[in-house]
């Protein structure tokens, strides 16, 4: 397996009884990257992450995490925030963070010191000695997130980290992810919300029905689609109409179509020469959401669209 890859998965398969949850997933996550796993509910994202963190072993296939075939051997270098959040309700916030660090090999004393620092940085210093059960859901979630990075891991795996957070905390989390990446950590996170992936990720994998249907950079994903032209003309008829593709559709008083192979210049010339009387012409780069629709299909996109980005 390649040294410059933090995580590599080859043909991972996971069966739960008769159900195949993950069907031949292969991933390559470069060291230091922010890597997004996109996909609708039940696509196999969580199962993939659980296999990558060593919680479960695959039915077949191989994985290499930070150079270890068994992820648990690299446990002290990995931070993990599960989709289903959980803390001991009677434990104090500071102790909870230190305990999670201790699980990963960080001495308790050092864990408590770092917990104080992290809680201070995230405006939770006054809650340090309060039991988790007294914290709001968002605060408890932040405490768990801090617990997953207190030991300064090389690889941070976050399963739906934005779920349940308000807009302010989502922005804080995005900043935290960027900060950890700047510090050299590799970050893998799964999300429903494409906007987060678009803002944060250098690379994404799109999973649908247990299979990876795309793995590459966000730019590559967008590159799968041609730019969209939105054209409004004064003339309703004329020879210019022959220059727009037959697949063009009307949206209100606009024509919407893919930018032809030749690019914008020949199109503009043909429109002007054809007497279109251009009122407005906009060329839009397709977003990750459009790429996702094209790659994963409308059904998957509709499933992901249930949660709106903040």
């Amino acid at each position: 397996m390649t040294g410059s890859l933090a995580v590599q998965a080859i043909d991972l398969v996971k069966d739960f009884g008769e159900t195949r949850a993950v069907d031949g997933v292969s991933l390559a996550v470069p060291t230091g990257a922010i890597y997004g796993l996109l996909g609708p509910n039940g696509a196999g994202k969580t199962t993939t992450l659980r296999m990558l963190t060593g919680i479960i072993d695959p039915s077949t296939g191989a994985r290499c995490v930070l150079g270890h075939d068994r992820p648990l051997e690299a446990a002290s270098e990995i931070g993990y925030l599960p989709e289903e959040r959980g803390l001991y309700p009677a434990m104090h916030a500071r102790e909870a963070i230190a305990f999670m660090g201790a699980l990963r090999g960080l001495p308790l004393k050092e864990g408590r010191r770092r917990a104080d620092e992290l809680l201070e940085q995230h405006g939770l210093a006054e809650w340090a000695k309060k039991p988790i059960r007294n914290l709001s859901k968002g605060m408890a979630q932040t405490v768990q997130l801090l617990g997953s990075i207190v030991h300064r891991p090389m690889l941070i795996v976050l399963d739906e980290p934005f779920a349940g957070l308000d807009a302010i905390n989502q922005a804080r989390l995005e900043e935290l992810i960027r900060r950890e990446a700047r510090a050299g950590a590799t970050i893998i996170f799964s999300t429903h919300v494409i906007a987060h992936a678009e803002r944060l990720c250098e690379r994404v994998a799109i999973i649908a029905s247990g299979k990876v249907v795309f793995d590459g950079s966000v730019a590559e994903a967008r590159g799968r689609l041609r730019p969209i032209v939105r054209l409004r003309t004064r003339a309703s008829d004329g020879p210019w109409q022959e220059t727009i593709p037959s697949s063009a559709r009307r949206e209100g008083d606009e024509w919407v179509f893919e930018l032809p192979e030749g690019g914008p210049e020949p199109l503009l010339k043909a429109l002007i020469d054809g007497g279109a009387g251009i009122e407005t012409l906009a060329i839009e780069r397709p977003g990750l959401h459009d790429a996702f629709v094209a790659i994963a299909g409308n059904k998957a996109a509709a499933a992901m669209g249930e949660e709106k980005p903040q």
């Binding site: 069966d15 919680i55 479960i56 077949t60 993990y80 959040r85 001991y88 699980l103 768990q144």
Partner: protein, 406 residues
């Protein structure tokens, strides 16, 4: 290995402090007081009920002279046998003996069990007394004693020896039995608690965080040893309180208890080790069972059969008391779950020490095996981890092959 121990320590430390520093732990320490209080209360009630429900007397319809001789014979019997000899009440004969007998049998003050009439010459008993009733034997002895001329029996001179083989065997068996019972009850209560240990992690969803950070074996080991450490605190408190109680309120104090074959010092050390082993073995099984449950309700449902199972194991182990080398006793010694209790009873009865060393190794091996099995089962059935089973792979291949053929 070091990582496993370090991880187990993290879990153990958390569980230990969460248990010992909770207010509920005070109730845990006070736990044995409740059965003692209950015993006292119900013992008192039982004694009162026993007093109130008088066993009944034998109404003796006879001449005063005959009754006097019978009464003297009864007193001599009571002197030899202690309490429990039937009470006799005298009634002078009336003209209609049948009517008198009927009236006496219906009497409630005092309640009459039977009527003895006919004096010493023609004794006849009427009443609700079966042929095998011990009262019949007592009455026969009383009548026999009353009929023959009495002479003072010769005095039996007694010289007390420190011990005799028969008394020693019996006393040691009693010590073994008491030791087994203490071990059994301590483990019975603690094992029930161990069963629900993983529910907290499962219901709080922390299990994912832990499973991603350490081998499941470490979680099981940590939990088991944390509870052992907490229970050792309890045992120190209980044993100290118990010894103090015996010292203060019983004649001769702790020294009055029958000495075990290996001596008190070694026996107590073995008792502690066998408690730990018994707890670890039964606890590991309980943890395995409890880990499969997904809710507290399921744990409660599983608790009853598990408790009955423990009683069965105790029954098997108790075969060692009295006959430590019988085949059943040896089987109880070898069967891992009954082995610690069986070996403690053996320590009370047999002075050899080397079998205990073998037993520690044997029991320790089983603790490791059960914990490994528990962790494996947890990963397989709860976390749904691991490769496809050989059987499933084979059946998949078969169906794929069938698909290709069709």
């Amino acid at each position: 290995m070091m990582r496993l121990i370090r991880s187990a320590l993290v879990i153990g430390r958390r569980d230990f402090s969460a248990t010992v520093l909770s207010k509920a732990f005070l109730f845990f320490l006070l736990g044995p007081v409740f059965p003692l209080l209950l015993g006292g209360v119900f013992g008192g009630i039982g004694a009162r009920v026993a007093n109130q429900t008088d066993e009944g007397v034998i109404a003796v319809v006879s001449s005063t002279a005959d009754f006097s001789r019978m009464y003297s014979a009864r007193e001599r019997l009571a002197d030899a046998m202690g309490d429990g000899v039937v009470r006799l009440v005298h009634y002078s004969p009336q003209a209609d003996l049948r009517a008198q007998e009927k009236k006496l049998l219906a009497s409630r003050k005092p309640p009459v069990r039977a009527v003895l009439s006919g004096g010493l010459s023609h004794p006849h008993l009427i009443g609700a007394i079966g042929r095998g009733d011990p009262i019949l034997g007592q009455l026969n002895l009383i009548l026999s004693g009353a009929s023959t001329a009495q002479s003072n029996p010769p005095r039996l001179p007694v010289t007390e020896a420190a011990s005799s083989s028969g008394a020693e065997i019996k006393d040691r068996a009693v010590t073994g039995q008491i030791g087994q019972m203490v071990l059994f009850f301590l483990t019975l209560f603690l094992a029930g608690m161990v069963m629900s240990q993983l529910i907290e992690e499962k219901s709080n969803k922390i299990i994912e965080v832990i499973a991603a950070a350490m081998p499941i074996d470490a979680l099981f080991i940590g939990k088991l040893f944390a509870m052992l450490a907490a229970s050792v605190i309890g045992i120190i408190v209980w044993v100290s309180a118990g010894a103090l109680f015996i010292q203060m309120f019983t004649q001769g104090g702790v020294r009055a208890l029958p000495a075990p074959a290996v001596g008190w010092g070694v026996f107590l050390v073995l008792g502690i080790v066998y408690f730990a082993m018994n707890y670890l073995l039964i606890g590991a099984v309980m943890l395995t069972i409890g880990a499969q449950a997904s809710s507290a309700r399921e744990v409660q449902i599983l608790a009853m059969p598990a408790t009955f199972g423990q009683f069965l194991i105790f029954g098997l182990a108790s075969t060692v008391v009295g006959s430590p080398n019988a085949p059943k006793a040896l089987a109880a010694t070898l069967f891992p779950l009954s082995s610690p209790m069986a070996m403690l009873a053996r320590a009370a009865q047999e002075p050899l020490l080397w079998p205990h060393l073998l037993a520690f190794v044997w029991q320790g091996l089983w603790v490791v095996l059960i914990l490994r099995l528990a962790a494996r089962m947890f990963r397989k059935t709860v976390l749904k981890s691991g490769p496809r089973s050989k059987w499933r792979r084979r059946s998949t291949k078969t169906s794929e092959a069938a698909g290709q053929i069709t």
